[in-house]
């Protein structure tokens, strides 16, 4: 039957259903915590206060959120072109290399207002280059993007280990890290920025990269939904045959979407390297690229949804760390289980809840209006 389906208001799918799903995920997590002999209410309390209970906690949560916004956006842009970019991890890692090269070369004689934009461009360019290659291979050779981006993660990892161990390492130390960059290249911490205007914040890794991440959200939204290039990318993602019919070149769109995706992933280095670590070190990406996939899926590939999903996962990172610290029987792995359940319920099991909620709404609506 091709008859128009009865319309259910948007907020049911975008607000109510995800909320129910998250509650279900916490419910099951609670049951698991009961099974291992702890009090789930106490755990929940620790999780929430660990993520939001103090200025410092909020700072940490938002710092994690910043990374996840970048990688979430990266995955989403590729997804709009019908590509599953598993490689945000490697692209962010290589983005860090770009930042480090600029800093090592120029932090002695360049002023802040030049070196930071330069680093930003380098981070985006290096990340973009790392995604361009799989994109190009997909477009011209048909090499599957999932396979190539996974492989590129490994290549990035190997390249970075080699460079850090043999080339970029600060002479005279054991740890495979570069020297600490000069302070001119640091992205300022939020508590430092706000101190002169009289706002006192607790110390946390939260820095101005969050503003950059939010700006990226706006830019990505405008690009995808308000430009002809975004239109072309979405057409390719939804129906490649129609794209060819419309005179859109799918190859070009695939390469473009992957390049932008990689550039966004590369910006993780702004937050992680220039904002917090102030030096390049092994494995600084620490899984944000992979969690970005979950963030993009949960956020429905829309920047607004991605901010919310990134906040949720940021809170789980931070609150989970506190929880594992306070209750020794709940280990970090247990926190990963909770994250996994959230992904399971919000992503994989979405269609378990959604049709039921929708039919309940319809039922309520019908009896309500008597039609």
């Amino acid at each position: 039957m091709s008859a128009t389906r009865y319309e259910v208001p948007g907020w049911i799918g975008t607000v109510l259903v995800p909320t129910i799903n998250i509650c279900l995920a916490f419910l099951v997590s609670g049951l698991i915590i009961v099974v291992i002999g702890e009090d789930p209410w106490q755990a929940l309390d620790l999780l929430i206060s660990g993520a939001f209970g103090s200025q410092e906690a909020v700072g940490y949560t938002l710092y994690y959120t910043t990374n996840l916004i970048f990688t979430g956006l990266a995955v989403a842009v590729a997804f709009h072109a019908g590509l599953f970019n598993i490689g945000a991890e490697g692209q962010a890692y290589i983005g860090g290399l770009g930042v480090a090269l600029v800093c090592l070369a120029g932090d002695a004689n360049l002023p802040t207002f030049i070196i930071i934009p330069l680093c930003m461009v380098a981070a985006a360019l290096f990340g973009a280059a790392w995604a361009f290659l799989p994109g190009y291979l997909q477009a011209t050779r048909g090499s599957h993007i999932v396979i190539t981006t996974i492989m590129f993660n490994f290549i990035a990892s190997a390249v970075m280990v080699y460079l850090l161990v043999n080339v970029l390492i600060k002479p005279g130390q054991m740890a495979p890290e570069t020297r600490t960059f000069a302070e001119v290249a640091w992205v300022p911490f939020l508590h430092e920025v706000l101190a002169p205007v009289g706002i006192k914040l607790a110390r946390s890794p939260l820095n101005l990269s969050l503003a950059l991440a939010l700006l990226c959200c706006v830019v990505v939204w405008a690009f995808v939904w308000r430009t002809r290039w975004g239109y072309a990318i979405r057409t390719v993602g939804q129906n490649e045959t129609a794209a060819v019919y419309a005179g859109i070149n799918p190859k070009r769109c695939i390469v473009l979407a992957m390049t932008i995706s990689g550039g966004l992933a590369g910006l993780v280095a702004m937050n992680e390297i220039l904002g917090v670590q102030h030096r390049l070190l092994i494995d600084f990406v620490a899984g944000y690229g992979f969690t970005g996939i979950a963030v993009a899926l949960m956020g429905r590939n829309h920047p607004f949804g991605i901010v919310l999903a990134a906040l949720l996962f940021g809170a789980l990172y931070q609150g989970g760390a506190e929880l594992a610290f306070e209750i020794p029987t709940i280990t970090r792995d247990m926190v990963v289980v909770i994250q996994g359940l959230v992904i399971l319920f919000c992503g994989a099991l979405e269609f378990m809840v959604k049709p039921r909620v929708e039919s309940m709404y319809r039922w309520a609506h019908r009896t309500g209006t008597g039609s």
Binding site: R228, Y245, A246
Partner: protein
């Protein structure tokens, strides 16, 4: 046997309980009532037609009878006995068989293997096959359904594949045979053969239910007919006591023009000139052989042919979607495309070629886009809709409203997601987009496939209006009736060749049908 004899045969069995009786069937999908209090009764050993527009509920009803869906309420009686049909297995056990519009066959299996598939009699395939071979021999001679059982199904022409589908049903001892739009893929001659088979089946006691939207078939072959509209039965008729106009009016709910009203064409200069064009697909198969023809301004050139004989490839070549491997195409006297100078679809459109693709959801629209987004597909980079960086969404919206108004697209909601429009309204949206650009040449593929009668009338009028405005129209359709009533000149394609050309006013269905099967070379045909 004359038609009146047939009907007497039909009445002969009137005293027996009906082969199929549906009583007050209701079926809802969400809030859509697909079937509302549908009741009908079919006498055994008759051919019963069910007609209705798309979405009238006829396929849903048959799916309920064949166990794909279950009715929310209502009763099914088979041979007078109340029967619960919850799965297709139960339907088959009740003696019901179905031939689907799209065949459910495995191309790489032989006829025999296809027939046995899912109805194996023992644990060993070999035993099943040898018993099946004997049974099939019997069936074939009994019903006159000759097929070589050892041929691969993929090697059979469509007409014979359909025969295999019928054999499959009969092998499962079906006494009630449902056929869903069986003639959609057949030539007129193949359709004729199918009808003979169906008459033969009926005479041997099989009850046939024929779902179709072609009124001519109903008139030609059925004994009784049920008309459905909007999920309800609006009329039962004895075929001998009704007429095509009456049935059409019942289907649509108002009077319908079955013939296209158009004046004599006044062809002007040559707009499209195609010379010795060939194309080879990815698998290395040549799809077009030495195709040459032209289309003048102010005329509609129709391309007739059984689906899959190169018409789709021809449209795609002309639209710039598929590459030319030999020959040349020119537009208004200027070279457009040849082997060494390809143009993509965007460039071709930019030169004033509109293209209504054959399959709107596969090519012409994006399912998940809002109507306003789909309404600029292909012209999305145009200055009208773009500033330097951002799109002018106001202009897009306004443009979409205008198109919806001009082509009566319902509902008039530019924000509704494309796939939620009915087939006819999706098609109107595509036509509006392509015609609104006032192209010098309009390529139209299957303009009314899966479209309601009311919308067909409208679409035909618009195509004729394009012609009368002095534009060149190339029309590809597998509906011979549509070609004959719309086109001024008809080319027939077979196996990638143009095998004949006739002036529409001199064309007969018989002659075209023979050309479509490549069985005749009329005096007027141009061999290429």
């Amino acid at each position: 046997m004359t038609p009146s004899d047939r009907r007497v045969d039909g009445l002969r069995n009137a005293i027996d309980p009906p082969a199929v009786e549906l009583i007050n069937i209701n079926k809802r999908f969400g809030s859509v009532q697909a079937n509302r209090n549908v009741s009908l009764s079919i006498a055994p050993a008759t051919i019963h037609g069910i007609v209705g527009e798309n979405g009238a509920g006829k396929s849903t009803l048959m799916s309920i009878l064949f166990g794909f869906y279950q009715a929310n309420s209502g009763e099914i009686r088979v041979n007078g006995k109340t029967t619960r049909i919850r799965t297709t297995e139960e339907a088959i056990r009740a003696g019901i068989g179905m031939v689907h519009q799209h065949f459910m066959l495995v191309d790489s299996f032989t006829v025999l293997e296809n027939v046995v598939l899912g109805a194996e009699s023992g644990r060993l395939l070999k035993e099943s096959l040898s018993t099946a071979r004997q049974t099939l021999d019997l069936l074939e001679s009994k019903y006159g359904l000759e097929v070589n059982v050892d041929t691969l199904v993929g090697d059979l022409p469509v007409g014979l594949q359909q025969r295999v589908e019928i054999l499959k049903a009969l092998y499962r001892e079906a006494q009630i045979l449902i056929l869903d739009e069986p003639t959609g893929v057949l030539t007129p001659q193949e359709s004729e053969q199918l009808f003979n088979i169906l008459l033969g089946l009926r005479d041997r006691g099989v009850t046939v239910i024929l779902i179709t939207h072609k009124l001519r078939e109903i008139m030609a072959i059925t004994d009784t007919v049920t008309v459905m509209r909007g999920g309800e039965v609006v009329a039962h008729r004895t075929t001998s006591q009704t007429s095509e106009p009456e049935l059409a009016e019942l289907m649509v709910g108002r009077k319908v023009l079955l013939r296209v009203e158009k004046g004599i064409s006044q062809p002007g200069s040559v707009v499209l000139d195609v010379r010795e064009v060939e194309t080879i697909d990815q698998r290395g198969v040549k799809r077009l052989h030495n195709v040459s023809f032209n289309v003048r301004s102010g005329e509609i050139v129709g391309i007739a042919g059984v689906s899959g004989n190169g018409q789709s490839e021809l449209l795609e070549v002309l639209a710039g979607i598929r590459t030319v491997t030999a020959g040349r195409i020119s537009l208004n006297g200027k070279p457009l495309i040849d082997q060494f100078n390809p143009r993509d679809a965007g460039q071709v459109r930019g030169l004033g070629v509109g293209h209504v693709p054959e399959d709107r959801l596969r090519m012409g629209l994006v399912r998940s886009f809002e109507a306003m987004e789909s309404s600029i597909l292909g012209i999305h980079s145009d200055r009208r809709f773009n500033a330097m960086v951002f799109m002018k969404l106001d202009a897009v919206l306004e443009n979409c409203r205008h198109k919806m108004e001009a082509f009566d697209v319902r509902p008039r909601n530019p924000h509704l997601v494309t796939v939620n429009f009915s087939g006819g309204n999706q098609q109107k949206l595509v036509l509006a987009r392509e015609m609104d650009e006032k192209p010098g040449l309009l390529l139209v593929g299957q303009p009314t496939r899966g479209v309601d009668i009311g919308a067909i009338e409208f679409i035909h009028k618009e195509i004729v209006a394009m012609r009368d405005a002095g534009r060149a129209v190339l029309l590809v359709s597998v509906e011979l009736e549509e070609i004959m009533s719309l086109a001024d000149r008809i080319l027939v394609m077979f196996d990638g060749h143009i095998v004949g050309e006739v002036t529409a006013s001199h064309a007969s269905e018989q002659e075209l049908g023979l050309m479509m099967a490549n069985a005749a070379t009329p005096a007027s045909a141009i061999r290429s």
